[in-house]
Symmetry: C2
Subunit: 163 residues, 2 copies
């Protein structure tokens, strides 16, 4: 036999080029979106994501664990981020009615206003530096690929943050 199971299957040149483009492009893109939100709305990208999820939830409120799961951040991370946001008046935490261990985070009026102001900035950035560059077919491919990535990684590690 000429190969065996322990030999590494390296990436070919095209794959490597794509992989590196993705790495560098993602670094630059996240940097830029984060910077724009900070400069114009005093908000980080993770904070913005939290505002969005809350705004889409009934009553503008969510359990901490559900919130964490929806953006795939660790619970600890969300605790810290929400604590900062609460200090800034964007969000308020309260006990959960049905579960004594639970905590619900809810949008404040100000949090909602900040989100409304920030959303156009964010969407313009996402369009200008990603969506409008891509072509519908290619962008759909990006969606397919990262849906598959998500599925695979969730399956590979169901309790993603109890570690």
């Amino acid at each position: 036999m000429t190969t065996n199971a322990t030999e590494t299957r390296w990436l070919d040149q095209a794959q490597q080029r794509s992989w590196r483009a993705y790495l560098v492009g993602t670094t630059l893109l996240m940097d830029r979106l984060d910077r724009d939100l900070r400069e114009q709305h005093d908000l980080s990208l993770p904070e913005y994501e939290i505002l969005v999820r809350l705004s889409e939830s009934p009553g503008h409120r969510m359990r901490m664990a559900v919130l964490a799961g929806s953006i795939s951040h660790s619970r600890s991370r969300v605790t810290h981020t929400v604590a900062r946001m609460e200090k800034d008046g964007l969000v308020i935490r309260g006990a959960c009615a049905s579960d004594g261990r639970g905590v619900e985070a809810a949008l404040t009026q100000e949090g909602f206003s900040v989100l409304q102001a920030a959303a156009p900035t964010h969407v313009e950035g996402v369009r200008r530096f990603l969506v409008d560059l891509a072509g519908d077919e290619d962008f759909a491919a990006v969606g397919r690929v990262f849906n598959a990535v998500t599925d695979k990684l969730v399956e590979a590690n169901p309790d993603a943050d109890i570690r």
Copy 2:
């Protein structure tokens, strides 16, 4: 008129699904690749990237600014990361012959060995959780998209880190 230039062009449903898949998928993927490198080789993903770039450079050495540019990290960030790596014996810094301001980072023997050991782990992860899930066409699309993203962001901000 029915629209004007200041109105936000929101993402349609398909675009939004793709965008979120990308965000979440990237979060999970980077987390996982970083974790695997840490657990098995005591190396972060950014550290690994630095080892790779150095190993591909003539003499296994690079100017700090070039190194930073090649992975699109800020100079400050690379200074800190390389400082840690130097303390771990993976890399050594020295003055640059042709430019008195310059500093060159070079791979040590140990750094090279660690890279050789870590590379298969990393590539398997990239394959298992991304490349092998994607299909050649779709993965090529990812490459095209993020090459475009990179070009656009470099053009939009040439001196990416002097800020």
